[in-house]
Amino acid sequence: MSRKISMKTAINEALDLEMRRDPTVIVMGEDIVGGTGANGEDDAWGGVLGVTKGLYAKHGDRLMDTPLSESAYIGAAVGAAACGLRPVAELMFMDFMGVCFDQIFNQAAKFRYMFGGKAQTPVVIRGMVGAGFRAAAQHSQMLTPLFTHIPGLKVVCPSNAYDAKGLLIQSIRDNDPVIFCEHKNLYGLECDVPAESYAIPFGEANILRDGDDVTIVSYGLTVHRALEAATALAKDRIEAEVIDLRTLSPIDWDTIIESVERTGRLVVVDEAHPRCNLATDIAAFVGQNAFGALKAGAQMVTGPHTPVPFSPSLEDLYVPSAEAIAAAVRRTLSPTGSRSHGIAA
């Protein structure tokens, strides 16, 4: 049966269902139980924002609080995966990858290749990404492009509860290391989600809105900004097709190319910093493979080349807005649009 639940609940449900289905699934992270060893409640926090709340009561010691020691426990998750478990390790804020990146990109990502195809590392590293939470420069970044750059990693970033559940279940069942990025400002967003288990395959973008005039490609929070922009544009009879990538690696090139070949215009929206991100990547790919279809230069809407600021007034300027996306669409439609080369800054 299907009912409306939040993305946070959907993630919790995915973990619960997979732990029930597969005894090799374990979940670890800082405060994911919360309060281990302290004198109060057993399951006091259930994750810093309560995403894993209640799982300890159902699965006991298969949920493990860790010391604040990312390189040790992320490495341990990787090692356990190479030895037959399916660990889901929570890296509370993906920004913390700085202290454990070696275990992710030099170890997990490379085992299979370095060992000549004789290893598999089915680990999931899930954590929060994105700005808008008043969490400042070290807890707000969209570092998805860094992970996407690394061969051997799969990178997932859902935009809604339905996708979050199906993609997380797929991530756990997948035999490769998966970086599962949860936009913290989407946790409360609700949509219809089946109570049953289901897996959404990787590499399949979701088309959220059909349109023939322009293709807007995005992922995560900015998908919703793109939809807002599309609604506003529709009032002016500009019909935008909105594509939600869902997974950044692998990426669904076919859907992007098919759409651009139909619309002739491309706007890519990425909350990440402007250099070497998904927007530049997709714009370049389309430029190389569907140049003939383009009626205007691809437009990129991204965060600026700055750290994420703290003050709400500044942070609100940081994340790409629906207005900025709509403006980018209009640039592709204006006669001079193709001459706009500015990187948002």
């Binding site: 089946p194 289901y198 395959p201 088309i207």
Partner: protein, 375 residues
């Protein structure tokens, strides 16, 4: 304001999830005479595009719904009236028309849940029920379908009957564990559902595989089946497009599924992105692939239908209606005549396997008539 000589045409509500629709093209011009059942306009929802047929006759006096514009359900989009009604009267009617509040509608929807769940001997069965009084009608969908296949029928039938539509085991939101994937097994699940909701006897309307399930039920429990309406039904011949069955079971992506679903309709354009997405969501549920594989192996092994019930059902006493879309590419329309004189037969042009969706007004009228006569 009430005026029996002026008839409003409003944005229809197809199924409970529809809240608005987009006018995509008028098939009649202002001033045209419109007969009952004529195609009036096309409306696109996020689920499907369909033709709105005239429910009454008259002259199309005003067209208010503009092309490519979205209107809420029950918004006034055209006015039909006799030729002698004055323009002033029509203007006054339009001015006085009140679109029912969306909120009130939502409240009503909350009051009667869209879907219900029954814990039966065959597992959890999702169902919907509409209407009160009149004969009981049970809608049984086909392979890979669910009760929303009756989107354009359930409300129309509920005007004069108590209608139940269920999801068979392995389908929709019913249990995905199918204890017995044969016709008898599914028929047993239907009877278990009837027991649960206290339905002693019903008029069965079955589509495709659901038709075969209905026939099986009529043969095994004749006193529980008041009549049979078989729409593009399985069980009336060997042939079936096995490519469709395999394609449907095997498809894992939007790209794979779209051409498969297009074989269901005469008009391929009716397969919307949303229709595909909904089916993908269903297909990706744990257990669905196993259930569909089990059912297809039991019923459509070796590229043909395993059970042909023609002779048995022709000999039964049950009143039978057979409806087919002339352009059905899944089960050939020739099967419509398999029962000869034992059934009333209607083959509808410009419709495919999903004839109850593609030509809903015509099919609904046939169904109502058949049930009315059999009751």
């Amino acid at each position: 304001m009430s005026n029996e000589r002026i008839k409003p045409i409003v944005m229809p509500k197809w199924g409970l999830s529809m809240s608005e629709g987009k006018v995509t093209g008028w098939l009649k011009r202002p001033g045209d005479h419109v007969a009952l059942g004529d195609d009036l306009l096309e409306v696109e929802t996020d689920k499907i595009t369909n033709v709105v047929e005239a429910g009454e006759s008259g002259v199309l006096r005003r067209v208010l719904g503009e092309n490519d514009t979205v209107y809420p359900v029950k918004a006034l989009i055209a006015v039909l009236a006799d030729p002698d009604v004055s323009d002033d009267e029509i203007d006054a009617f339009i001015a006085g028309f009140v679109v029912p509040a969306a909120d009130a509608d939502a409240d009503a929807a909350d009051a009667t849940p869209r879907y219900l769940f029954a814990e039966t001997a065959a597992g959890t069965i999702r169902y919907a029920t509409r209407g009160e009084g009149g004969p009981a009608v049970l809608l049984v969908h086909g392979f890979g379908g669910d009760l929303d296949n009756w989107l354009f029928s359930i409300d129309a039938l509920a005007e004069s009957a108590t209608v139940y539509a269920l999801d068979l085991p392995g389908h929709g939101q019913s249990t995905k564990s199918v204890a017995d994937p044969s016709l008898s097994g599914l028929s047993a699940a239907v009877l278990a559902f009837m027991d649960h909701v206290g339905l002693a006897k019903a008029h069965f309307i079955g589509h495709s595989m659901g038709g075969a399930v209905s026939m099986r039920t009529a043969l095994d429990a004749p006193d529980r089946v008041a009549s049979l309406s078989l729409i593009a039904s399985a069980g009336l011949g060997r042939e079936i497009d096995h490519g469709y069955i395999q394609g449907f079971v095997g498809a894992t992506s939007r790209r794979d599924l779209k051409p498969v679903l297009e074989t269901l309709f005469a008009d391929r354009g009716l397969v919307s992105r949303s229709l595909i997405d909904d089916l993908l969501k269903y297909k990706r549920l744990d257990g669905v692939e196993d259930a569909l594989t089990a059912i297809s192996s039991a019923m459509f092994a070796d590229g043909a239908q395993s059970s042909v019930l023609t002779d048995l059902i022709a000999a039964a006493k049950t009143p039978i209606l057979v409806v087919w879309g002339e352009e059905d590419r899944v089960i050939p329309a020739a099967h419509a005549n398999a029962l000869g004189d034992a059934a009333r037969v209607a083959v509808i042009p410009n419709a495919g396997h999903m004839v109850q969706m593609e030509a809903s007004s015509k099919v609904n009228a046939l169904l109502k008539d058949h049930i009315g006569k059999a009751a």
